[in-house]
Amino acid sequence: MKKKIGVYVCHCGGNISDYVDVEKVRAEIEKDESVFLSKTTMFACADSNQKDMVTDIAEKQLDGAVVASCSPTLHLLTFSAVAERAGLNKYNYIHANIREQASWAHSDDKVGATEKAIQIVKAAVAKVKRSNALEPFRVAATNAVAVVGAGIAGLRSAIQLAESGAQVYLIEREFFVGGRVAQWDDLFVSKETGKELITRLYDKAMNHKNITLFTGAEIIENSGSVGNISLKVKIAPRHMKLDCNEGNLGKAIEVCPVVVPDKFNFNITTRKAIYHNFPGEYPQLPVIDIENCTRCGECEKVCENVDFSQKDEFLNIKVGSVLLATGFDPYEPKNDEFGYKTIDNVVTLPQFKRLVHYCDDKLVYKGKEVKNVAYIYCVGSRQVDGDNKYCSRYCCTATIHAAITAKKKYKDLYNFHFNRGIRTYGKQEVLYDESSRLGDIYLQSFEDHPPVVSKEGDKTIVTINDILTADKTLEVEADLVVLVTGMVPRQDNSIGSLLKIPRGRDNFFNEIHMKLRPVETVIDGVTIAGASQGPKNIMESMNSSLAAATKSFSLIASGELSLSPTIAKIDVDNCGWCGKCDDACPFSALTKTDVNGKLVAAVNESVCKGCGMCMPVCPSNAIELIGYTDNQIESMIDALVSTD
């Protein structure tokens, strides 16, 4: 019990003292024999008063302090810091709110407001008497980060982390790096292709000693907490020996009899069961698609590097933080959505981009030359009825860029943009300008009257009530209809489920605060980057990658983590492990443990947030929350209701 407590009652200019008789409050509190010193002050937060408090606490050797002033949201940290500056543990400082809870709330009743203020301050004094000095937990942090996804966001984050000095495990589920960006050719605004960007990042990453890349790899188990996270990684084999001979590989691909749609080209082309995405793909080592492989053995006959004996490998790694850069999936239109899969010349934007890549002099789709291209915007985004209410941000720019590319590449090509308002925001506006100067035609409709794709004989007709032409019904004979599909979250959310990353209403990974904490998740130590968090263009993905890398590194940079001491504590004598606390804990901080032959609950100190959810469910009252013990809280209640 503290016996030399200092109490400061604040006027707050008049905010408090106009309604609460602060002198009376002080006089009442002074009666408590544990109160060694009591003062009123015009502004407790003023520099001069803070200095006086430091002097008081230090010179008079006070062992507890209370300031009765405004909301703790505003100044708790201010006075905790004052206590620390004076050499008093900050947990021996208690804040009493007599402004929001007394003077402002009861400005019509000065006597009542004063009485309430006295009770509130008494409660604070009761708690401070029973307060203990607490020190933060210090946990050693592993100087390593797992970056999940080796697309452009993952690669950039990995390089940033490695350059900061962290060990980086770059974990890619596919067998090749580069993600979506590797699938694109020219990009706005530079002439650099997606492949060139990826090559640049790949070279840099591979030349950095701190980065280890795993392809065909997935995290399958996760334990521990921020600073010390243990991950189990499953690495699928490529079924190829590492030192390959390029000549024989070509033959092996040639002889493979299995033909499957090529996902890299969004199924507009096919590939073999032994493949690489394109020449120069990274890593430059083909892979055998074992799911589709028939094990006919043809490739083995011509290529000595094929190795069917390779098995899954498992690797345990320990990291301080996990950075998720798992990217997005392109929206897959429903059957017959704008004629998709029911009308023969309807493709998606990603397919169109790959098509333009493969067609040199003439744009040809399914054997027919394409002259008129109709782009239908916002397919799968900004849905009125569907779940995807959001704008996918990148598609207007990407479409116009693709349209200009096609227009410049092929003679006499005409572009028709069926849009719902063009959003080439920021610097991308110049593309819109260029496209309309090139003669691209823009037609616009509202969401309730989307364009219609229909078949008239062997012709494909796109019809719209164009609001730019006074709602006139207009039609275009299209040789190719391109559905501008937006971004959706990865269909496979296994990593999100494993790490318990909450998802937003849009189903992308959710940040803590959209504006102020944009790359952190509620799971300590896990940050998110790139389009895994929501639709982003490359530029925006880079911003978030660098932010997430910095945030992840800041957790482990000092080699140890300082964690709040106000967490749950188990009374081993009373606990009989019923598991109810474990069920109630939203952070999985409680585990069953054996203490001298007795099964009891144990708190993982680096995971517990001190939320208190476990305490009321414990049938034997074996859990205390440090800093908010039953003893402390009950004494406060007693003080609040006492009448003397």
Binding site: Y442, A470, K472, L474
Partner: protein
């Protein structure tokens, strides 16, 4: 339902239109246009039709004729798409669509064709004159005879059929239901607009352009009357003599002002001059001036020794009557006033 034809803009550009692709549908042109109202979006509707290549819609439209080119739209266009000049080009386009001979289109689209036509006619006149041994009396006689017959034949063979084609495009084909009495009731509209161009009054802040244009029209029509029917070059009446001098002086003075305007490009309307604009204003100027000088030569009694002067006048006259009147810019005199008439008919139509 209308099908989009992006190739149309290329054709329209051969009539003088600027970069129609520059339009990004902001609607500034409509906001400033004094002709625009809730039902009719001037000139954006026509801009949009042009960009989309809706030829049928353009051909049934009267809007291009209802615009008198104040140029406010071009001046306020943030993309410098020159909507005013587009309307001008649409008038040229429509003129060639109304013309059954197709010569209008050829002359509008190709400067060299126009030049060749002018040269051929000049050669023709000189050849004809030489076949008469440059006999002044015969030349004047045939010149007068040509004037009278040209008026009649150009009107009957070219202008009347073209007006009927215009009516067919804007009234009959779109199935505008007009009662016979409406045709009779509205004819005053035609006469008033033909001789006053009063619609221009709503377009400009200053009335100067309207006034200059008005006296030019009156001067031109009355000089035509004075030379053809009052036989100015052979008259003995001093009243007719002075009247002719006055009328021709009005013509070459006003057209001189117009030419200066087109050269200085100070107003929006004179900024962009298509060859057909120059031909129109220069030939009108030459007509007024040469007529004036010819009559002066007669009065000074030196024409017989200087018959070249009459030859110049006759050449200008023939070129004017055979190229500019039936196939050139002169036709706007008719189409504009008939457009007002047809517009009135449309408003009276039973829908």
């Amino acid at each position: 339902m209308a099908r989009i034809n992006p190739k149309f803009t290329t054709e329209l550009q051969s009539y003088g239109a600027f970069d129609t692709n520059a339009c990004y549908n902001c609607g500034n042109c409509t906001a400033v246009c004094s002709l625009s109202d809730e039902d009719n979006s001037f000139p954006r509707k026509m801009v949009r039709y042009s960009v989309l290549g809706l030829e049928n819609e353009i051909q049934t439209s009267l809007e291009p004729w209802l615009c008198y080119y104040c140029g406010d739209c071009s001046a306020t266009c943030p993309r410098e798409a020159e909507p005013g000049e587009l309307m001008m080009s649409l008038r040229r386009y429509l003129t060639s669509k109304y013309d059954w001979t197709g010569l209008s289109g050829m002359l509008y689209k190709s400067l060299s064709t126009s030049v060749i036509a002018f040269v051929l006619l000049a050669v023709g006149v000189i050849w004809f004159a030489s076949s008469l041994n440059f006999e002044p009396e015969l030349l004047l006689h045939y010149g007068h005879y040509f004037e009278m017959s040209a008026i009649g034949s150009v009107f009957l063979l070219i202008l009347l059929p073209n007006l009927i084609r215009m009516w067919n495009m804007v009234i009959r084909k779109p199935k505008v239901n007009v009662s016979f009495s409406a045709y009779l009731k509205s004819y005053s509209e035609l006469i008033v607009h033909m001789f006053t161009q009063k619609r221009t009054l709503g377009c400009d802040d200053s009335q100067t352009r309207w006034f200059q244009h008005l006296i030019l029209v009156i001067g031109y029509l009355s000089l035509l009357f004075t030379t053809v029917f009052l036989d100015w070059f052979a008259t003995d009446s001093s009243f007719i003599l002075v009247l002719g001098y006055l009328e021709s002086a009005v013509i070459f003075s006003v057209t001189f002002i117009f030419m200066i305007g087109r050269l200085s490009k100070k107003t929006q309307v004179s900024k962009n001059s298509h060859p057909s604009d120059w031909f129109f204003v220069i030939w009108l100027f030459l007509m007024g001036l040469s007529a004036f000088v010819v009559r002066l030569f007669i009065d000074l009694d030196i024409l017989e020794t200087n018959i070249w002067m009459y030859l110049i006048h006759l050449t200008v006259l023939v070129q004017w009557a055979i190229i500019i009147v039936p196939f050139g810019k002169w036709t706007h005199f008719l189409y504009r006033s008939f457009a007002m008439y047809f517009e009135k008919l449309k408003s009276l139509s039973i829908s």
